[in-house]
């Protein structure tokens, strides 16, 4: 340094030195104790509140750790018979729904017009007034449509009573998750087979052989936590030896990865495998139970060689599976969601359930049961999911200008339904659209008025889980924190609405608020001799209800299913049909629910966005899974962007080369592709639902989401995926 030190520089250095000595002013911390402390509060001491998770429709019991009035951690409720203290990834992420930065903080009107995303707050009194006026001014009550998702039972009950009292049609219940898991189809199957619309329970825990036909038991199907708990016990629980799981589906899902064997079945032909197995059992008189004799008629129209050819599963394999299934002490066959996603879903589901009949596993350990309602029968107004055909009917009504007011609760049909159904145009035609969404999601963005519901951790309620547990259960819900914002529970809104509407509506919902209604309903169970706990007074029962997190029977009780006449006639053999000419669209599209995002509702939670997909370890995006053969034929590798084109739409996403895939199948996870729904969800990935042709199973009416054929085009572009695994150097991801 040859310069002289200037005075300015000297002072700067001196000041810096002074700062280093601590002469700079110290910040002082502040502590603000409560003005009026809540009763159980000791600073730093935790309180646990029992409630019910609502990240999916399963209804697992949760305990939430609350410190200083803030919810910190969610755990499974160890006493709850459904999930027995365990909880899945989405359940754990529930705190990011409560504390999500993109929540609506008050009721709003979309003053900039639908789709403008310009909202202005409106007072609740005014908002209720608007809704009351809209309902009162309907020329006919049939012009009111209530579109709901799998809401908790108490809201469903209130909504149904209100609509009924107005003379309006009952709620349309549908969401993407239930379509993918085939809930509506499973209800249909239960009605057909057992004469009761109860979702069957498969006693996985005690089975020695489980044939799972397209049921992703350990991921998103029906009650994944309860099923996973049972799976763990089936493997190493020790009680009955180690059970065997065989998974039959076109894609090696995480459930198939846990299975002992994966059988890559041609899409839509799972039923043929079941029929083939059944036919072999009957033909070769397999099994030690001899029950095949009386049910031989089921397989009258089935020929093993044809089934083998149709499913592309060799005859030897069918024979081997038949032996395994028939020889087992306790075998069970599970008809999963993938079956219902095809046009022959009804036939496939019947075929799979029939296997349980010929193995005489109905009502036996390790077999099939129905939930026993016990004392909770009175509470059981579980939403029955509508089929896609029924939903399409409602959409057609809207499009024809027959609906003046549509109300949406806990469902997002503009994201959930294939655009080919015409949902967006239909909603646009309805003069008044109201949403109860807590977030500005796709349907809220097309609404005129939003009356945001509390999030589930701020809500009261109850839900009878379906499928249920090994005993009657009613899962209770209570707020674990005070509502953060000026939102209102939909139950309370419906009651206030009923009071304002007066007349039959006010009579149908006579309670002043939700909690009063709940107390009345809950304490109705007080006298039950089945209860796991005792209380002498209704107040005591209500206190125990909240402490336990609901009501359940102390001992296991389940129902033995009885078959209808469906088992006395030949099973139908129905070929699947697919949208798209195979010569133009050579691949089957297999969209699947993401274990992290579910059907897309998890996309606004950053923990879930960052959760790696178990099979590809990719996250934050959409990708297209291609078999190595398909990728080679297209000349693409990991990260190359391809365009996937169906007869009704197209999307683009980067490739993941996926070894566990049939060469004629292309698989894409569902969950991204949101245009709204908050900063973590918006503008990310693509929604494969946009590719789906509105094909249905003609008998059940369910959406055949697996019946769309697609073709592929390499775009020449690349987009690296955020994958957990390092892809350079194959050492870590391939074992041989």
């Amino acid at each position: 340094m040859t310069q002289t030190l200037s005075r300015r520089e000297f002072l700067k250095i001196a000041a810096g030195a002074a700062g280093a000595t601590g002469l700079a002013p110290q910040g002082r911390r502040l502590v603000e104790p409560f003005a009026r402390p809540p009763e159980p509060s000791l600073g730093g001491e935790e309180a646990w509140f029992a409630s019910t998770c609502r990240q999916c429709a399963a209804g697992c019991g949760i305990l939430v750790r609350v410190l200083n009035g803030r919810a910190r951690k969610i755990e499974g409720n160890p006493l709850h018979p459904l999930n027995r203290g365990k909880l899945c990834a989405r359940g754990q992420a529930g705190l990011q729904v409560l504390y999500n930065p993109d929540r609506l903080r008050n009721a709003v009107r979309q003053t900039g017009g639908r789709g403008s995303r310009v909202f202005e707050p409106v007072g609740w009194d005014e908002a209720l007034g608007i809704l009351t006026e809209k309902i009162s001014s309907l020329s006919r009550p049939e012009r009111l449509l209530f579109f709901g998702g799998l809401m908790p039972d108490h809201v469903y009950r209130l909504a149904t009573r209100l609509l009924d009292s107005l003379g309006a049609p009952p709620p349309i219940i549908s969401d993407l998750h239930s379509a993918l898991e085939g809930r509506n189809a499973a209800q249909w199957l239960a009605q057909e087979f057992f004469g009761a619309r109860e979702l069957p329970l498969y006693d996985l825990e005690h089975s020695s052989v489980v044939l799972s036909f397209g049921a992703n038991l350990l991921e998103t199907w029906m009650s994944p936590v309860a099923q996973s708990v049972a799976y763990g016990e089936m493997r190493q629980g020790g009680a009955s030896g180690r059970g065997l799981l065989i998974q039959l589906e076109p894609r090696l899902s995480a459930t198939a990865a846990s299975a002992d064997e994966w059988i890559p079945v041609r899409p839509g032909s799972e039923g043929f495998v079941a029929l083939g197995i059944g036919r072999v059992i009957v033909e070769e008189r397999l099994g030690h139970v001899g029950s095949h004799r009386e049910h031989a008629v089921l397989y009258q129209d089935v020929e093993v060689g044809e089934m083998a050819a149709a499913s592309e599963v060799p005859v030897e394999t069918l024979r081997r599976l038949a032996r395994i299934f028939a020889d087992a002490d306790r075998a069970v066959a599970i008809p999963g969601g993938s079956l219902s996603g095809q046009t022959n879903g009804h036939a496939s589901m019947l075929a799979v359930q029939a296997l349980n009949v010929i193995a005489a596993q109905l009502g036996r350990v390790g077999g099939v049961y129905l939930s026993h309602p016990g004392s909770s029968a009175a509470l059981r107004e579980t939403p029955l999911v509508q089929s896609f055909a029924q939903v399409q009917g409602a959409i057609d009504h809207m499009r024809a200008g027959e609906v003046d007011l549509v109300i949406f609760h806990d469902t997002n049909p503009i994201f959930d339904l294939p655009p080919a159904s015409g949902i967006a145009e239909a909603v646009a035609r309805v003069p008044s659209v109201v949403s109860f969404s807590s977030f500005i999601d796709e349907i809220a963005a097309q609404s005129d008025l939003i009356l945001p519901d509390h999030t589930y951790l701020e809500s009261w309620g109850y839900q009878v889980p379906a499928p249920g547990a090994d005993r009657p259960v009613v899962s209770g819900q209570q707020p674990v924190v005070r509502p953060l914002y000026d939102t209102r529970s939909t139950g309370d809104v419906l009651m206030a609405l009923a009071q304002q509407l007066g007349g039959a509506a006010a009579e149908a919902l006579p309670w002043p608020d939700e909690m009063t209604y709940l107390q009345e309903v809950a304490t109705g169970l007080q006298g039950s001799s089945l209860s796991a706990y005792d209380a002498r007074t209704p107040a005591g029962f209500w206190a125990l209800w909240r402490q336990y997190g609901g009501w359940w029977s102390e001992h296991p009780i389940s129902l033995e299913p009885e078959t209808t006449k469906v088992v006395s006639s030949p099973l139908p053999v129905v070929q699947p049909s697919f949208d798209g000419d195979p010569s133009v669209y050579p691949y089957h599209l297999h969209p699947y629910a993401s274990i992290a995002l579910g059907d897309g509702r998890g996309a606004n939670q950053p923990w879930l966005q960052e959760t790696p997909d178990p099979m590809t370890t990719a996250r934050w995006s959409t990708w297209v899974e291609l078999s190595p053969q398909t990728a080679a034929s297209l000349g693409v590798q990991d990260g190359d962007v391809v365009r996937v084109i169906s007869s009704v739409g197209e999307i683009e996403a980067p490739v993941v080369v996926f070894p566990g895939l049939r060469p004629d199948v292309v698989a894409i996870p569902i969950g991204q592709g949101h245009t709204d729904y908050g900063r973590f969800a918006e503008g990310r990935g693509a929604n494969p639902v946009n590719l789906l042709a509105p094909a249905t199973d003609p008998v059940i009416g369910s959406l055949a989401w697996g019946a769309t054929r697609v073709r592929l085009e390499a775009t020449g572009r690349r987009r690296e995926l955020a994958r957990l695994e390092s892809l350079d150097g194959e050492g870590r991801e391939h074992l041989d």
């Binding site: 030190l5 502040l30 009026r36």
Partner: protein, 185 residues
Amino acid sequence: MSDSAAGTPSGRSFPSTRLLIAFLLVVGLAVVAGMLWTRAQALAAPEQPIEYSHEIHVAAGVQCLYCHSGALRASTAGIPSVEKCMGCHAVIATDEPEVQQVASYGAQGDEIPWIPVNVQPDFVFFSHPPHLAASLNCETCHGDVSQMGVARPALRMDMGWCLKCHLEQPEEKVARLADCVTCHK
């Protein structure tokens, strides 16, 4: 290299060596003064929104655990809520201006923004209960609070001070008490 070799020797950059020494002395003194001053600041009683006097309340017979009830069973001792103060002060000493201030906070449902006196950085997890269980009384660490007006820290509660006592414990306990993870999680 050639620059510094050809350049002026160090003595020529500054006016003179003496001035340099003087400058260093000044800086050194400033540093020492700064250290002494901040230390005094750390042990001084911070300015509180209300001039609460522990001396008066202890003399009146109020026990430590009455207000700082978390110390016995919780991970934070806590500062009493306005409601706790008003429990007595709704009727006691209502003519005192400080008490009237408390009452006005209470009437508005506001919390009083106290400045905590004995508080550790957020990477230190101190818990009172095991210390109370070891029969330590409050004065051991918090000084003679009965003589304090507005609360002040009795001593610098730095890690060395904690460890000094921890290391003097019976041998079978020292391993746990000197383990970092006991206090830093």
